[in-house]
Amino acid sequence: VNGEAVAVLPLREPRADWFESLYRTNAADVYAYVAALLGDRSAAEDVTALAFERALRRRRLYNPRRGSMRAWVFGIARNAALDELRRRSRSAPLVKEPAADPPAIEQQLVVRAAVAALAPRDRELILLKFHAQLTNAELGRILGISESNAGTRLHRVLRQLREVCQ
């Protein structure tokens, strides 16, 4: 997975080719991130499709100087996922579905529980970092915080997870 390869694609490339490169490189990670954030794989499908549809529609608004295209797509996906969470919170309480495939080893189970126990903002940060593999600057831009703040928060969350896992 290398988001930078997508970021340098010329926007004048034919629409279908451009989009194919974009989703082939990022769709799996976006879906994994959205599914982890929502805790609902079915809804994650819709949100991921919506995110890519928005990206396709707004592709001329992408500015390479403001970050990689991967970070841009994850920002769109994050907004779409949070909108979905908000919509659900208005209609019905969020019920997280159990993972379809239980972890094969105990360590994964522990990590999953530890991540799930994190504060929502911390959980979002760690999911975005692990799935999107963005730089701290890109994380900060998406979350509306500074780069150093993103690094500090990341360190704090890693320490929490280490205590749980060790």
Partner: protein
């Protein structure tokens, strides 16, 4: 660019980047590698159904972005605004005033006296010809030292069109600039030709036209004249039948009164008809301060171009003055809406606590 982070944190974050990129990490940060591996192993695989759905997306008809709709609405508003400003034309400078803008006599009132046609603006027109008095004033700015030659040109144009120079005066002052004033009478049917020819002589700084329908006045004067003539005829018949000196004297006295009335009504009618046949043109010529006053076609064209440019800039300025507050308010509203949307999304996360 990272800044002001503790070296220990920097090392840990560096180990995280290594683990995310599949590189080996030092034993000190083995837990980071384990975390990355565990979270990724727990990732939901991309469903084939979603993959197929995404592949179909580029072929789907794209909806028109709202941004474009807003831009379209903005462009429409701007066009409407400019149209309103142009239509009002009130605040824009108009160095060359033309009566055409407010209704030229040639457009709204045409003499049907000799050589002219009735105007639809007066419909429904009563039967019979209509009589319209037309008058125009023209202000010319002659190049320095050219007032006399422009005056000669005015006279030549008037003569060529069969008009009359009723009055002319040229003032050559030692202290002030030269100026001239001419009162012309040109055939009504050739008024526009006259104005066009005169306008080519020098830079036009003002031009107005007026039109007055005198058809009713002509009818009334003609009616009075007809009645007076009929009365004179009747008096003459009475005179033929008069038998006493007193009767003859009385009828003669009445005939003198009626003759005076006929003369007066006839003169009035003739004046009205003449005013509808000939149009008065008042031409004033002033001397420009420099060659920029323009006399040659090139100077006139340059001045007109500057006028047009100044008017366009004025219109653009007015439009800008109206648009800037709108754009500021719109931008502030857009920023506020973005902030509210972001806050709501963040609040969604907080609500899960």
């Amino acid at each position: 660019m990272r800044s002001a982070l503790d070296p220990a944190i920097e090392r840990e974050l560096g180990a995280l980047e290594d683990a995310l990129n599949g590189r080996t990490v030092t034993p000190e940060f083995a837990y980071v590698a384990m975390l990355v591996e565990a979270v990724r192993a727990d990732s939901a695989p991309l469903p084939a159904r979603l993959s197929a759905r995404l592949e179909r997306l580029p072929a789907a008809p794209s909806r028109r972005p709202r941004r474009l709709a807003f831009a379209g609405a903005g462009a429409t508003t701007l066009a409407a605004l400019i149209a309103v400003v142009l239509a009002s034309g009130g605040s824009a400078p108009a160095p060359v005033r033309s009566a055409r803008a407010v209704g030229s006599p040639d457009q709204s009132l045409k003499a049907t006296a000799p050589g002219a046609a009735a105007s639809p603006a007066l419909a429904p027109a009563p039967p019979g010809p209509r009589y319209v008095q037309q008058a125009a004033t023209l202000g010319l700015t002659a190049p320095h030292g050219k007032v006399q030659s422009v005056t000669d040109g005015v006279i030549a144009v008037t003569d060529s069109l069969g008009g009359i120079v009723e009055n002319s005066s040229v003032t050559t002052g030692d202290q002030g600039a030269d100026q001239a004033q001419l009162e012309l009478q040109v055939p009504a049917a050739r008024l526009q030709q006259a104005l066009a020819s005169l306008s080519r002589l020098a830079h036009v700084n003002s031009r107005t036209q007026q039109a007055t329908d005198v058809t009713d006045s002509v009818g009334a004067a003609r009616g009075r004249l007809t009645a007076a003539r009929a009365e004179r005829l009747a008096l003459l018949r009475q005179l033929a039948g008069a038998t006493t000196p007193n009767q003859v004297a009385s009828i003669h006295a009445q005939l003198r009164l009626v003759a005076g009335q006929i003369s007066q009504d006839g003169a009035q009618l003739a004046s009205l008809l003449r005013s509808a046949t000939y149009s008065g043109v008042s031409v004033s010529i002033t001397e420009g301060q420099s060659a920029a006053g323009g006399g040659s076609p090139l100077d006139v064209a340059a001045n007109d171009a500057l006028d047009v440019l100044a008017t366009s800039l004025a219109v653009a300025l007015v439009a800008l003055a109206a648009l800037v507050p709108l754009l500021l308010v719109g931008g502030a509203a857009w920023q506020s809406a973005s902030l509210v949307r972001r806050r709501r999304r963040e609040a969604t996360l907080d609500a899960q606590l």
